[in-house]
């Protein structure tokens, strides 16, 4: 052990050995220390564990909130659907109805006069 080795970038086994003996105690019981740490591990685990019913209650709270939201959205959609009238089909809208004006319009061999077209429209109303 000399001054040159003070600059050494490698560990000094001799110094390390005596320091280790100085820091270790003959009273040290590693097994007891490990047991102590593991007891704290168990305590921490027990404290972190949430009872099952609390988990289920948490799920239930979330489930109720989702169901309420779904009911509100569903009600809104249903309400809108009931208020809107069914659209008329294209054929029904174009089908001729009874009336002299219409009969004259569909049976005439010549192009219809504008007054006949107007009359058929007025009759349909």
């Amino acid at each position: 052990m000399n001054e040159e080795r003070t600059f050494d970038h490698r560990p000094d086994p001799e110094l390390g050995g005596v320091l280790r003996r100085a820091l270790d105690s003959p009273r040290d019981d590693q097994a007891a220390f490990v047991a102590r740490v593991m007891a704290r591990y168990d305590d921490a685990l027990a404290a972190a564990t949430v009872p099952t019913w609390e988990v289920l209650a948490g799920w239930a709270r979330r489930g109720i909130a989702v169901a309420l939201l779904a009911a509100v959205v569903g009600g809104f959609v249903l309400g809108r659907a009931l208020q809107t009238p069914e659209p008329e089909s294209f054929d029904a809208a174009m089908a001729p109805t009874s009336g002299a004006g219409v009969a004259a319009l569909v049976t005439a061999t010549d192009p219809p006069d504008a007054s006949i077209v107007f009359a058929s429209l007025v009759e349909q109303r």
């Binding site: 052990m1 000399n2 001054e3 080795r5 003070t6 600059f7 970038h9 560990p11 000094d12 086994p13 001799e14 110094l15 390390g16 050995g17 005596v18 320091l19 280790r20 003996r21 100085a22 820091l23 270790d24 105690s25 003959p26 009273r27 040290d28 590693q30 220390f33 490990v34 102590r36 740490v37 593991m38 704290r40 591990y41 168990d42 921490a44």
Partner: protein
């Protein structure tokens, strides 16, 4: 392992992989895996905490805090790197936090209780005397200096690893180890010459 060699376990790829597996098993909730990590690193963690704090009982509390804190942070551990430096950084931080909380400005004596009581053979008595002198010398060093020399010469970590653990530049670690060695070697030389 021989007593005069650094106590840090070898950090080969196989060891890193083995410890990564222990970490993964711990994260999966396997109690025994965490127990194995604690068992493997308990002596080293206790020494490092003692180097920081001086007091043996308080150091054990800090080492325990370190292990539990590591457990909480285990998800942050990079499995490609050695586990030891990561854990020792947490232990050193836990011990430093305790020292700060203590807020004692005086020189901290290392616990005389580190030496076991009762009658002992002469060889042990001589060794005990050296141990007491070393503890006194360590206690005179600034906490960061004694932590650095213990991590380097006792635990076998590199300057770079110690820099990461203590959150200081690598050059500062070299300087701290240099000054600590100079003081401790002078003491050892006196003791040998006596």
């Amino acid at each position: 392992m021989p007593p005069d060699t650094p106590s840090q376990p070898p950090q080969g790829a196989a060891r890193i992989a083995g410890e990564a597996e222990l970490v993964a098993r711990t994260l999966a909730g396997e109690r025994a895996a965490f127990g194995e990590l604690v068992e493997r690193y308990a002596p080293q963690a206790r020494r490092v905490a003692r180097a920081v704090l001086g007091d043996a009982d308080e150091a054990d509390d800090a080492a325990q805090d370190g292990f539990l804190s590591a457990l909480v942070k285990l998800g942050q551990y990079d499995a490609r790197r050695p586990f030891g430096p990561w854990l020792m950084r947490i232990v050193a931080n836990a011990a430093t936090d305790r020292r700060r909380r203590r807020q004692v400005r005086r020189v901290e004596p290392l616990d005389p209780g580190l030496v076991g009581g009762g009658p002992r053979p002469d060889a042990d008595a001589v060794r005990s005397e050296l141990g007491e002198r070393l503890r006194a010398a360590l206690a005179e060093l600034p906490p960061r200096r004694r932590t650095a020399v213990v991590l380097f010469d006792v635990e076998g970590y590199s300057h770079a690893e110690i820099a990461g653990m203590l959150g200081i530049p690598e050059g500062t670690v070299r300087s701290e180890v240099f000054h600590a060695r100079r003081r401790l070697r002078a003491l050892l030389a006196d003791w040998k010459g006596a």
